[in-house]
Symmetry: C2
């Protein structure tokens, strides 16, 4: 029996993607070679990376003046690459502190220059998205995090921004409609909606690069990777291949329109149950609730053991909340079928039935 995989990342991928990946490890494209033992400069792999880029461009409707890159090092390396490429020596960047990862981005930018933290939700354990701030126009760029995986909050409306807007979309890219034109640089670790761990997607408006006054190390310079089409050095072949298959799956399904509807529906029924069920309570502000990571607590700790056991028995996996919030976190990324969400809801109801007279 396949598990119901609610893991926060690396996370569930479509079954057909897993099957095709496994098959390509044995024999890729009938070449009588494994995908992972061919040269990254061979025609068959260049076709893979080109298709992956085309699919990103198509699915997210990325304009021509933006480059699409597949890099390594995850969002953590982007925390460094963003200020390295966009912040002047002695320059200032504007950040929002909306969770653990946003904070890590801030720490890294501070090593390179001045950081103006314009909004901060740490006062309430990052349970909400700050709004109503004004972004100064004299900074090098503005940085935000679209979805906070650990705390289950998500920006529903991006602020107006007259300076370059940079966004870490690691945990909700490809889950909903985004107007790329509003952003100047988007980055995302693959291991949520795009593929397995091991590659990082970067979408960058070409014209914002090469404008600061730093001597940027080669591997940290986005222009290196643009010039060499993500092949300056050996790319993470397997991670890019599986990402391409996942994007193909999404495209065939109907793209963002279809998946956004599905994601809203999945989140809606689970939040509805959290709000209805007397045993549970959500942790994020209602208007800022994430449609990807749904965080909730049992009002009575003593029921946790029982509920965990019920989940285990039904094959519900990866649902324990991050230690900084506690309770539960159901990550319901693109590949999560609604049936798995319903299975979880049924268990929540069952727990209530058995414990409230």
């Amino acid at each position: 029996m396949k598990k119901h995989n609610f893991s926060a990342g690396p996370c569930i991928l479509p079954d057909e993607v897993l099957k095709e990946s496994a098959s390509s490890i044995i024999n890729f494209n009938n070449l009588d070679l494994s995908l992972i033992e061919i040269s990254h400069r061979s025609k068959p792999f260049i076709e893979v990376i080109d298709e992956a880029k085309s699919l990103v461009r198509k699915i997210l409707n990325v304009p021509k003046n933006y480059s699409i890159l597949f890099l390594q090092g995850g969002a953590s390396l982007e925390f460094l690459m963003v200020p390295m490429n966009l912040m002047d020596i002695n320059g200032t960047a504007v950040y929002t502190n909306t969770g653990t990862w946003a904070n890590k981005a801030i720490i890294e930018a501070k090593k390179l220059g001045n950081v103006n933290i314009i909004a901060n939700s740490s006062d309430k354990n990052y349970s909400y998205i700050p709004k109503d701030f004004i972004i100064p126009e004299d900074a090098n760029y503005f940085h935000c995090t679209s979805n906070n995986t650990i705390y289950g909050t998500q920006i529903k409306k991006f602020p107006k921004c007259k300076i370059p807007m940079v966004c870490d979309m690691s945990s909700d890219i490809f889950s909903r409609k985004i107007d790329i034109n509003k952003f100047d640089l988007i980055y995302a670790g693959a291991q949520k909606n795009m593929g397995p761990a091991g590659t990082t997607l970067v979408i960058v408006k070409d014209e914002i690069l090469g404008k600061n006054n730093r001597d940027i190390p080669t591997m940290l310079d986005y222009r290196t990777h643009i010039n060499k089409e993500s092949m300056f050095n050996t790319p993470p072949v397997f991670a890019i291949y599986v990402s391409m298959l996942t994007l193909r799956w999404l495209d065939k399904l109907g793209g963002i329109d279809t998946i956004e509807k599905r994601n809203i529906e999945k989140a809606k029924i689970l939040y509805k149950e959290i709000d209805r069920n007397e045993l549970f309570v959500g942790t994020a502000e209602i208007e800022d609730r994430s449609n990807m990571n749904i965080c909730f607590l049992l009002k009575e700790n003593k029921l946790e053991k029982k509920f965990n056991k019920m989940c285990d028995e039904k094959g519900i996996s990866g649902i324990i909340g991050h230690r900084s919030v506690g309770g539960y976190r159901a990550s319901i990324y693109n590949a999560m079928p609604i049936e798995s969400v319903k299975e979880l809801i049924n268990l929540m109801k069952k727990l209530e039935d058995e414990n409230i007279s």
Copy 2:
């Protein structure tokens, strides 16, 4: 029919490793979950990375005062991390220029400080390994490249060195006995003898770190990854897993002793044929010839088309030389069976028979 895969990297991996990898993508360890959709912080994956580290320590006999890391970004990012961690601001490092990759390492170090290029074989298109140089004792470190993939040269005897010795072993690590104690930092992209593209092995003597006067970005600081046991950020799960399986295969085979004998034998018979056959000539100085990448030319260009066709028909793949050397390059890494090398030798003989009366 499985091809004879002479690709320079990513390259051939053992068949049993490919089979087990494919199977784990469908169902890993009977968890009813795919390897690539479980959390990197789950017990099953922590066991994988721990076993990978233990195998590196066992196979290479790595002393306790060295840390073993699995990073991302390939040797190309190490070109930056090495000077970032070991070179003082205004410090000097000593490099040898023995090929394209050595030169890229030099370019990166120059961005951070002074580079003293103590030996350089570019005068003869990198066809030999410079010797008889004296390493100054007042530099921060000495850097060399153990095997030059493109030019088919290999350091047979490492120089005496009183300052920290750093070595890029990307293309020959795990192929021969190495006394780790002679080195202070070794790095290697996985995609030759260790696994698929997507992770980088670093072996570093702990005591050399934290001694320079730089504020090192978090992701570029080896101490970050030592402190978090290569889990500071999401590691490249699949690449580490396949590396672990490949190391398991090597260990079962008898470790370095066995593989070194096999590698020497494979190289010996192929070089013997190159030297014997009147149509071919080797490109590297005999005493510096690599046992991993064997570079040779056809004396008469006009036979190339015919020989390429013969190779194609016999399923010999990935044998065209790098554009900067031309001719042929047979990469005969650990997983390459001697039977494939013999197949190539047979074709070389056949070409000679058909063209020399």
